[in-house]
Symmetry: C4
């Protein structure tokens, strides 16, 4: 293996002039370098896999962002382009307009809900729709702000990727995209199913509650009670309300999916470095190898910090919102269900919510887990190969807390997951105990 830092291997002048436009300040990693060299010189034929996946995060996340754009989020252009340089954000474009309109409509909706809540009593039953709408509005705004920063962020990400040790096989290049698409597909499907169940359950409830009136109308009124508190009922307004409700619900689910994918992407970067490290486990390597690896590790940490600056607001929002609704649902869970359809929908919905919350936490905490993996290799460096650079690297890995955060208030680690789970269980136990103390010893 070539252990010289990639930075020392300068492309020849000829290549340089051709690549110049693409490289800018960042330096290409060996893999893309050799591949592109091949392409420009025509020496090596590109295989199918070569063109399908270059293993970059930008490429993997493209189709996922397309879905977001259908629902009015992330109005950025060039998300399906091969190179992150094609990404552009402009305030004057159809996508951006769509997003802005969506934000405005959601704001109006939130205003109407606020009006409804303050007219009623200050109770949890009333607060929960307000939280839902405020959350939807914040999600839309977050994605709009993210879209502005996305092109710069992806360029930086691409530059980091190119300086990491190259993938050894095309399978490795494919792996990230596969995982990202799998996660997206599973979660979006579940979210849609859950929403369909909610519609069915809602209509059923409408029939159950007011058996004489039109169930569809009752259902629509139940979906947008804040609208029909002010306006008279009209079918098109009802459909608009429902459509907005769908978009809002999707935005909430999508944010969780998006965060998981960010987690996946960042931990795959550590994976690339780790693969290179694992190949030299227990071997004596020159100091230059360790300097290079340390710099690569540092690059990833810097990227994580930058990404965290952009998404940590979303993380906070996602955690706060998910935990709020978990608590609300648990509070409901100890009440008697009015019908079997409610029972089924309720537990399906609660399971989905819990599972999604857990999944977001675990995917995000993987970044922290993987950031500590180099220690495993460092500890096995033989005495002869142990040098000052390794000590510095080992010290930095051991002392640093590399993790995504919730607005820098908490680090997302596996320990946090337990703490949150413990809190929820305690809460549920306290709830149960105030309903269950009697009759435990009675004969059946």
């Amino acid at each position: 293996m070539d252990i010289q830092p990639s930075t020392h291997k300068q492309p020849t002048k000829q290549t340089r002039s051709k690549l110049g436009e693409k490289l800018e300040k960042g330096q290409e990693g060996n893999d893309s370098l050799s591949r592109r060299k091949g392409k420009t010189r025509g020496v090596r034929r590109g295989t199918r896999a070569d063109y399908l996946h270059n293993g970059s995060f930008h490429e993997s996340v493209g189709p996922v962002l397309v879905i977001a754009q259908w629902f009015g989020l992330m109005p950025v252009r060039g998300i399906l382009a091969v190179n992150a340089k094609s990404l552009k954000f402009s305030w004057v474009s159809f996508r951006t307009c769509y997003s802005v309109v969506y934000v405005i409509l959601t704001s109006i909706d939130t205003g109407l809900t606020m009006n409804m809540v303050f007219r009623g009593a200050m109770e949890v039953k009333n607060i929960s729709p307000l939280v839902f709408h405020v959350n939807a509005l914040l999600v839309a705004i977050c994605f709009l702000r993210l879209a502005v920063k996305w092109p710069q962020l992806m360029l930086k990400w691409q530059r980091v990727e190119r300086q990491l040790p190259p993938h050894q096989m095309w399978r490795d290049r494919e792996a990230l995209a596969l995982r990202v698409h799998k996660v997206t597909f599973v979660l979006i499907t579940l979210a849609l199913t859950e929403h369909l169940l909610s519609v069915v359950s809602g209509i059923h409830f409408a029939i159950h509650c007011s058996p004489n009136s039109d169930p569809i109308k009752s259902f629509f009124i139940a979906v947008s009670p804040h609208t029909f508190l002010i306006f008279n009922y009209s079918t098109w307004l009802a459909w608009c309300g429902k459509l907005l409700n769908v978009l809002n619900t999707f935005g909430w689910s999508y944010m969780d999916v998006f965060l998981m994918i960010i987690g996946l992407g960042l931990s795959s970067l550590f994976g690339q470095v780790q693969n290179s490290l694992n190949r030299v486990k227990g071997k004596t390597m020159p100091e230059a190898y360790w300097t290079r690896t340390r710099l690569q590790y540092r690059l990833i940490c810097d990227l994580i910090e930058q990404v965290d600056g952009v998404v940590s607001g979303m993380i906070m929002l996602s955690f706060a919102n998910n935990l709020f609704f978990v608590c609300i649902q648990l509070l409901k869970s100890i009440n008697k269900m009015p019908s079997i359809s409610h029972f089924v929908y309720f537990y399906a919905s609660l399971s989905f919510l819990l599972g999604r919350t857990l999944a977001v936490s675990l995917y995000l905490s993987e970044v922290n887990d993987r950031s500590r993996e180099p220690l495993l290799v460092i500890k096995h460096v033989p005495r002869e190969g142990y040098c000052a650079e390794i000590e510095r690297f080992g010290h930095e890995v051991a002392v640093d807390k590399v993790a995504l955060t919730g607005m820098q208030f908490f680090n997302i680690t596996r320990g946090l997951v337990l703490a949150v789970a413990g809190t929820i269980v305690t809460y549920e136990l306290v709830l149960i105990q105030f309903h269950e103390e009697e009759n435990l010893w009675a004969c059946n």
Copy 2:
């Protein structure tokens, strides 16, 4: 940039003799040195900004302390002088007398409240005015004790400032003063608004409760019930009571403002060092540069420890008091409000209290955040420039826990903020759940 430790550049004898009186043991930083040099030699004309802001904390905090003195706190002289050496505390001065009289009056007030509380039942409703008065008394005593130590502390602070890397531009020198004044203005304005609202709400409540009697009299009695339990009602006693109430309320708010400003001042010191470090990020610097930086960092840490010794009691008091009243307000929040004016005042007051508590925590925790920033530069030191001094510096930064504390029982960090917020939310959830479990599934 001149990377020699400022300590090696001795002023010439001439300058020295002129500066001698001012310098004492401490050594001037480059900026003030050159500025003063300029002044003495007349080579360089002073601009307006030059004279307006020397960037010292003493100068920035001056106007804020003037406000405090209007309300009987911080009776120290020379707060508006250019040099911290002019600060003096004397027991025999008008300001000190004013403060002492205020302390005595507050003590009497507290005694009367205690009498009232012990006559009634031991309930939260009764305890809360006692906590308010005891707090006001402790605030007054804290500021009196602080005034005694303030001149020494500011001298030390000024000496530290002069050994730090000089500000590069006059804008940097202005920045601290601007932030301090902005924070003070916003918070004092909000506090006054909140107090006005409380008066309006109080009068409204007086009318609501006893529609037949004189609302002004009812209001004054409600403000000082402990006084009129013993003395007969008289207008001048009522006005005295209200005046003392205003001073007490202001003292509470002011303490929070003061703590924020301390936090701002200390983190700006780290900022000065960090600015110098950022300029050499990724460059190879001689070992002497790192020694100097480490010593500057150490100076700041020592100053923080000294400041903490003086203000950690106030921090404890502020946190305990704010949290107590947050809990009391949340407890009230689940009760039915008697009128709309109460509703508005109540939520405005609660929001202000929560916001202020959060702001104090965040400004104080910034000290801890900024103390860790040098690590970002140290990690990017290239291999060639990595020396023993950097390792020592990096180790000290990584291991040390530099933070303001609440009487050394807890460190003020961002993590603490989350812990406190989490506790409050849990408390609120428990409160709500015991009021809201029924009827969640009922038809509307």
Copy 3:
């Protein structure tokens, strides 16, 4: 003492050829090496103790696994063989079939319980048998999965043992086996006693509740209510249900015993290294000694990680289950007991449960405790003998968190034990306080 790494002392060719078959890649430690040398050359007579205990974990745990196999767990062959190489797992064997049948029956039982629970109200009284059955099913599956990986794991374990410093005396070799057998004996005996008490208490309760009907039949119905909800009562079905109930109960207790033994085994490895270290406390040793010790320590850490990968699911299961039943029992504890036999059984059962939970935690946390012991010796290394290897070793021990985990969500340390105990006590206090606030001051 011979401080050369055992790896440098190569067996002679002759011995090697004879040992070749046994050694494979791993290298034998001095003890087994010399013992075997003795055996092959016939120079030294083996004493009784020599053959009884070679001090390996595989040997110590053998009889304990035999008990597991009686109850359908851990279907692996060769558990009583001298060498771990004899261990084999095969899907086609009587033991495996027995286990699989047990899993299937438990699944059916769990299904029936689920049916019963969902028919009734969602209350703790109903959920608790479901948790019991799901737990029993998961235990059976865990042990089945463990059996598949056991042979490989024990081989690795044996290889590690042979590279550690040899035991000095036959007593040391015996110690592990003695502790393992003692723990097993005590806990299995207590579990059987507790189960007998539960049967007596159950029959007593059956008589108490329905004095007219057949108490035995009532008891059997109370044991398997989920079965007789669907099937008609028949004596053989009742006995089957009871038998399965015994197996399930045993599986739960056995898992705890098994985890304790794993903890014992792993901490005894650290003990072996520590014994060697204690002999050189305060002495100056060559760097090679420290390299060897560090590598031995590393070997143990790697083994712990591997073992943790296999048993951390069980640890999670055991903790979750024990805590759930502790909470349920405490909930019951504040109710009035219907009879004295219930009182006795209830507190015996609760004490056993609490004691067992505590014992599991303590034995598992011992691994973490012992992993930090080398620091005690390192701190006493004199200045002359302090070398780079010691620094590296000390740093690794100080920074590393070596501990068994609950699915990597929490580390099992003594601190965790306190946290768990604190939570339980708080829970109990909250329970009590809502029953006890009145009448505390009344005259007797």
Copy 4:
């Protein structure tokens, strides 16, 4: 380096032979050395203070142990001797017999209480006397076990003291004894006052509850209800019961005093080292100085570990017991008091309990605080004087967690104090909120 104590100044052969008997392995520090030299040669006149205090912990703690022996605790001989070598424990001595009789009587008392508790309902009101008696029994047993180990422990402690840097002035030598006696006097006095108040309050309560019967008899019955449940009332039995009650109550208070004194003694050892360090702050010292200081620090850490092994059970007992009674008292605090004498006694007793608990925590946590102080000096070592030994010392101080523990489950630090206080406050808030939610907005 010469790791011989500070000393370097070896006693001449003559002196040595005279001191030989006393010195054994341990080496005397300069102070005692020079003092004794003075005495033997008659060159220097001993002042009064010189003979009064040699500054050893053994000497300081002597009078405190005398008090313990009056109440049947710590039956060890030679506690007032100058040298710790005179300490002896023997099972056949009057003190030991007294202690054993006390243990036996307390056991019987505990048995009677247990009988009473199990006859009544399982309520907090009933459990609390049982906890009191079990605690008293455990305290007596702890001190008996401690007495056995005390002579060895004090010898070790004396040996450590003699290797530390000598006190500079006779005031320093006096300081420890003064603090120890002050703490003891204040706490014992308060405990006696509190007990007298309890007697007065008890008699008052007896009159209040049964105005017709003999108040003294009622009081005695209330003191020992468990005794008179079985035996008929007789005056001498009543007095015995009361006497035992006094001894039990004293034992509980005394354990807290004893723990504080242990904390004082251990932190004064760190203080001795720190005094020496402070004198060289900012100076360049030879490496040998740092080696010596590190070894002295190590000696203290080893001593703390040994002391912790002996007293950590007591610490656990003290914390558990104090917290239990704090919770019980808080539970009572929200009930209406039957009379004013109860009100006064109740809050005096609660304040004393809270203050004592806080004092124990703070004195014990001082050990941890002071163990970190050397870092302050190490950070100010100039670059020229920074050597490998300092790095090692600094690293050990930074990484080590030197603290007394509660059976190694928790470290006693200032952070713990806050955690405990926070828990108590939360508990009280929860208690209050379930009594106070109504009527907060009502007109007066």
